[in-house]
């Protein structure tokens, strides 16, 4: 029992600090990627290539005045960013970061918690995240914040439906809700072709499901082209208009953590997680380490896609957003589910 506590504590603390570090540096990456796409230089003053910029920003967040408007609901105003940050930090718990390490004869799993309802846990945490934005926006007692908050909650719950439906096809193919089983299920050969061991990724059999999931992930993280909750040309800053200091920092930080976790979930569900062709040839411990590297490679690719889209596509209008969510993605994901179920049943009957 004590071994387990120590092992899990080390794992939790390392995943937690890596998540925070990545989220901090994503702010820098975002500005650099934006600069690259717009043919600018980007931040370059703090340290070589501006790499100390996030540290300066974080320091500023800590020492700014913690402003609470007089007319706001004080406790809810504080709770809003707290909930947003808390749920963002919780979702990483069920993601399998690699296979398992053998340390002095002891198998150490690289997943914090292997619960048998892994996907539902993530969906649940994402749903609680809506409360952070809703409570924060409402408690500000500012019309712009209120507009941003109700827009955000309406958008997030709408896209959650299509997201939930698109995952069902994956669950059907794996027969399990545990992310560990889903990742392990993608280690075989692609369509039985030799030399493709470790390339049996779900994206090749579920391309439609992947596209639906990706679009929903953009909407759930409130990223462009779905960043209507904070669209600055109409709503000043949306739900975080009244926030300052680290409370504002938490809202922005939560967005970057969510982006990181979404990329990890997309990689695990559709792109084989830690699997890559040739992983089965490596010795046990090297397999785990190479697996972590492969997973992070995929995650960084998807994070780049998030940024690429943000600086390429213009923002949707609200009725277009709702139209896409309810009238296109939901019927499409039901159809995708039925085609998957029909095909699998048909194949079993033969």
């Amino acid at each position: 029992m004590l071994d387990l506590i120590i092992e899990k504590s080390i794992l939790i603390l390392s995943v937690f600090s890596v998540t925070l570090l990545i989220a901090t540096y994503l702010t820098y990456t975002e500005r650099k990627v934006a600069a690259f796409l717009q043919d600018r230089i980007g931040p370059d003053r703090a340290g070589p290539f501006g790499i100390f910029q996030p540290l300066a920003d974080a320091g500023k967040m800590f020492f700014k005045e913690d402003f609470i408007p007089a007319a706001s609901a004080k406790w809810l105003f504080i709770m809003g960013p707290g909930i947003a940050m808390f749920t963002a930090c919780m979702t990483g718990a069920v993601i399998p970061w690699g296979t398992s390490l053998n340390i002095m004869g002891r198998e150490v799993s690289l997943q914090i918690a292997d619960v048998n309802i892994g996907i539902l846990y993530i969906m649940g945490m994402v749903s609680i995240g809506v409360y952070g934005i809703m409570i924060g926006g409402w408690a500000s007692n500012n019309k712009y914040s209120l507009m941003g908050a109700i827009r955000a909650s309406s958008q997030m719950i709408s896209y959650e439906l299509a997201m939930g439906l698109s995952i069902i096809s994956i669950v059907m193919m794996t027969g399990s809700l545990s992310l560990k089983d889903i990742a392990a299920g993608q280690s075989g050969q692609l369509f039985g072709i030799p030399l493709t061991t470790g390339l049996d990724w779900n994206v090749f059999v579920q391309p439609v499901g992947f596209i639906i999931f990706l679009v929903c992930a953009f909407a759930e993280t409130n990223r462009a082209p779905f960043d209507l909750p904070e669209c600055e040309s109409e709503l000043i800053g949306g739900y975080h208009t009244e926030y300052s200091s680290m409370k504002l920092g938490f809202f922005l930080f939560a967005e970057y953590i969510n982006m990181f976790i979404s990329s990890a979930v997309i990689s695990t569900l559709y792109f084989g997680g830690y699997n890559f062709p040739g992983i089965h040839l490596l010795p046990h411990n090297l397999q785990a380490i190479a697996g972590i590297a492969a997973l992070f490679g995929k995650i960084f690719f998807f994070i780049f896609v998030f940024m690429w889209v943000r600086w390429t596509l213009p923002r949707f209008r609200y009725d277009q957003l709702m139209h896409l969510g309810w009238k296109i993605l939901i019927p499409l994901s039901i159809l995708n589910m039925l085609v998957t179920a029909g095909w699998m049943t048909f194949r079993n009957l033969l």
Partner: protein
């Protein structure tokens, strides 16, 4: 591992995440300066007198979306047990789920025809 003990690490994660959030919020509250005055503490202080507060009524469409979400989300949740046991249920299970999906679609079609999802009207 399907026991309650597999949730134990999640409890630990909760403590770490909750502790971090609480600590940082308290710390920044103590670190930053605090200068209060009546004008500054006003909501959306921008030089123009604000008109009332934000406890106003907003479009019914947001409530409609929320209610429809609850209905459809419950239906989506019913698909999950089917999906997990998909292989054991076979052809009979597929027919049952086809029936369930058609009920789902009848409801969806009704909502569409009633115009509950028309945002630009």
């Amino acid at each position: 591992m399907n026991t309650t003990s597999s949730y134990f690490p999640i409890v630990m994660q909760t403590l770490v995440a909750g502790g971090f959030v609480g600590l940082v919020l308290t710390l920044t509250h103590l670190l930053g300066p605090s200068r209060k005055n009546k004008t500054k503490d006003a909501n959306f202080e921008c030089g123009v007198e604000s008109d009332g507060d934000a406890r106003v009524r907003f479009s019914i469409k947001y409530f409609m979306t929320a209610i429809l979400f609850v209905l459809f989300d419950v239906e989506v949740i019913f698909f999950y047990p089917y999906a997990v046991n998909f292989k054991e249920l076979g052809g009979e299970g597929f027919l049952a789920v086809l029936m369930f999906v058609s009920f789902f679609l009848i409801g969806f079609f009704y909502v569409l025809k009633k115009g509950a999802l028309e945002w630009d009207k």
